[in-house]
């Protein structure tokens, strides 16, 4: 009897440290940050309640709008290019390629690197003085110009280039796994119906990749909103504020500009953005899974 009771309690006991850590470090922290976003905290947390004043200030800052616009540009391009490129490469690799085992890891390895390394490499590669532009000049193409990284309007696209380089191979791997999972009998049936290869991909296989598109979207959206390291290493947010993203905005307002209240409110906005994508996704994924 006693032993029975113990056996019932142990599982919950085992789970409790993790649960406690997560309740504190995730959910209590969210509440705390939310509370801070309603206070006049500057360099240190302070508890003078100011309501939604920080949010008002935030939405009036050109700097914040700049970060949001950049996120919109960066996020859209990053997700679209990674998905298209990933699917394209996956389809190419699915054509019974000799040396697939050799090519696939080459496409994928950037995912193993940290964004800091990626940023360091691309920063240099894109630098007109020593990188690609210089190389082209050396090769005698004197009029070649590629100085996006120094250009206020174009710098954000260099972040896209580096981020796509890092993540597209991973999206490719996701699609490839999806393609390989398509039931070959369906394809044989389509071939018997006389469908061309292009039609088979367009009408049958790609529509079946819907769950992969969804997963890729969630992963990439989540990376885009969180991305901080890449910008720091590649451009440091510059030139000027040209490549500032909400993640870097939050960091600099909180820790270098001593505007903790505003930093906290920007963090809350980021949380809302991510959760509005993730929660419906998790809900749709876990509900049918439960019934299995």
């Amino acid at each position: 009897m006693n032993r029975n009771r113990l056996q019932e309690i142990i599982p919950r006991l085992v789970l409790s440290p993790s649960m406690a850590l997560i309740l504190i470090f995730v959910y209590a922290f969210i509440l705390y940050t939310f509370y801070l976003s309603m206070t006049d905290s500057r360099m240190l947390p302070s508890y003078g309640f100011v309501g939604f004043e920080n949010y008002e200030k935030l939405w009036n800052l050109r700097h914040w709008w700049r970060a949001l616009t950049n996120l919109a540009i960066f996020g859209t391009l990053y997700i679209v290019i990674c998905s298209v490129l990933g699917l394209f490469l996956a389809i190419l690799l699915d054509q019974k390629i000799r040396g697939e085992g050799f090519l696939r890891p080459i496409y994928l390895y950037p995912m193993a690197l940290s964004f800091i390394v990626t940023g360091t490499a691309w920063k240099w590669f894109l630098d007109p003085g020593i990188g690609l532009e210089n190389t082209m000049h050396q090769w005698g193409w004197a009029s070649f110009e590629f100085a996006w990284i120094k250009d206020r309007t174009l710098a954000i696209y260099t972040v896209v280039i580096a981020a796509v380089w890092q993540s597209s191979g991973f999206v490719m791997a996701m699609f490839l796994a999806g393609l390989r999972g398509v039931d070959s009998e369906i394809i044989k049936a389509a071939q018997m119906d006389g469908a061309s290869n292009v039609t088979i991909y367009r009408r049958i296989i790609i529509p079946m990749m819907r769950p992969v598109f969804l997963s890729a979207f969630v992963v990439l959206a989540h990376l885009a909103i969180k991305s901080y390291d890449l910008v720091v290493a590649l451009t440091g947010g510059g030139p000027g504020q040209a490549t500032e993203l909400p993640a870097t905005f939050m960091y600099s307002y909180t820790f270098t500009r001593n505007q903790m209240g505003i930093g906290a409110s920007s963090a809350i906005i980021m949380l809302v953005m991510i959760f509005s994508i993730i929660i419906p996704y998790l809900y749709s994924e876990l509900k049918p899974g439960r019934q299995r």
């Binding site: 085992v14 699915d94 390629i97 690197l113 990626t118 240099w124 997963s215 963090a267 876990l286």
Partner: protein, 292 residues
């Protein structure tokens, strides 16, 4: 899986040639930054400045590597990356070990010892994978301060354990969900208790998911920058932060070759893991991406 599949370009030689050229062009795109870093890390500085970034070195030197490792200026001290490399090791090893063990136990409880409300617990844990870490920065700094482990390796280990729990729990839960519950019941009838069942029945069959989890956690924690830069100081800052300091230090001559050697050094552990266990690496990424 794809054995019976015959969709795709076949027969047409021109199309095949085109296909292979496209694939090779992309392979070059993915390899180029790594090649550039590698080639230029063994050139003397003036050769980089004058020469072509794509050219093989005229003069081969390992001096930049030696400098990056042991004498380059990082922040204010000419220590090289060496001490930070060990900081990273000291942080990564315990963080990976603890989060993996906790994740395994959580997954075991959540699948084989289900209780009322366990899906809510899992939902809360799972959601913690997706929070933007910016939301935790301010309160985490306060908590670490209160615990007296601000700026220490222990502090970073704690942070990485907490924010890795969601993923490790997810991995093990999904793996154990497919583990036959009848085995657990048979062991219960045989009189085995909670931990005996885990150690004797589940653990011996868990090698694949342990490998995936360890790789995932290792890469993520090794590559982390945000927590390292926020909560680390000289004795605890990880490799990524040191690399960023090395690259973006403003004073003096920019020693590009040293930067590259440093970047490769920082990337080396995860690249090695990727090369040695690529199959599991991909599985880890996919498991992290494609939910429950």
């Amino acid at each position: 899986m794809s054995a019976g599949k015959t969709v795709g370009v076949s027969g047409n030689r021109l199309a095949r040639a085109l296909l292979y050229s496209v694939l090779i062009v992309f392979a070059v795109y993915y390899l180029l930054p790594l090649y550039v870093m590698l080639v230029n890390s063994v050139k003397p500085l003036d050769e980089i400045r004058q020469g072509n970034m794509l050219a093989l070195p005229d003069v081969f030197t390992l001096e930049p590597w030696a400098r990056a490792w042991s004498s380059a200026q990082i922040g204010v001290q000419p220590t090289g990356l060496k001490p930070y490399f060990f900081n990273s090791i000291l942080m990564v090893v315990p963080a990976v070990a603890i989060s993996t063990v906790l994740g395994a136990l959580n997954g075991y409880v959540l699948t084989k010892w289900r209780f009322r409300g366990d899906d809510i617990v899992f939902g809360l844990i799972l959601l913690s994978c997706f929070i933007p870490f910016q939301i935790a920065l301010i309160p985490a700094a306060r908590i670490l301060g209160m615990l007296g482990i601000a700026g220490t390796t222990q502090g970073l280990v704690l942070i990485h354990v907490v924010y890795g729990l969601g993923f490790t729990t997810l991995f093990f839960r999904n793996y154990y969900a497919a583990f036959p519950t009848e085995l657990v019941r048979a062991a219960q009838i045989d009189g085995a208790g909670f931990f005996q069942i885990f150690r004797r029945i589940l653990l011996p069959s868990s090698a694949p998911i342990i490998v995936v989890t360890v790789i995932w956690q290792f890469t993520n924690i090794w590559n982390d920058f945000l927590f390292g830069v926020s909560f680390g100081d000289f004795d605890s800052q990880p490799m990524t932060v040191a690399l960023n300091n090395l690259v973006s230090s403003s004073g003096g001559v920019k020693e590009y070759n040293v930067h590259f050697a440093g970047a490769i050094l920082a990337a080396l552990p995860t690249l090695v893991v990727y090369i040695v266990s690529g199959r599991y690496f991909v599985r880890g990424l996919m498991a992290g991406a494609v939910k429950g």
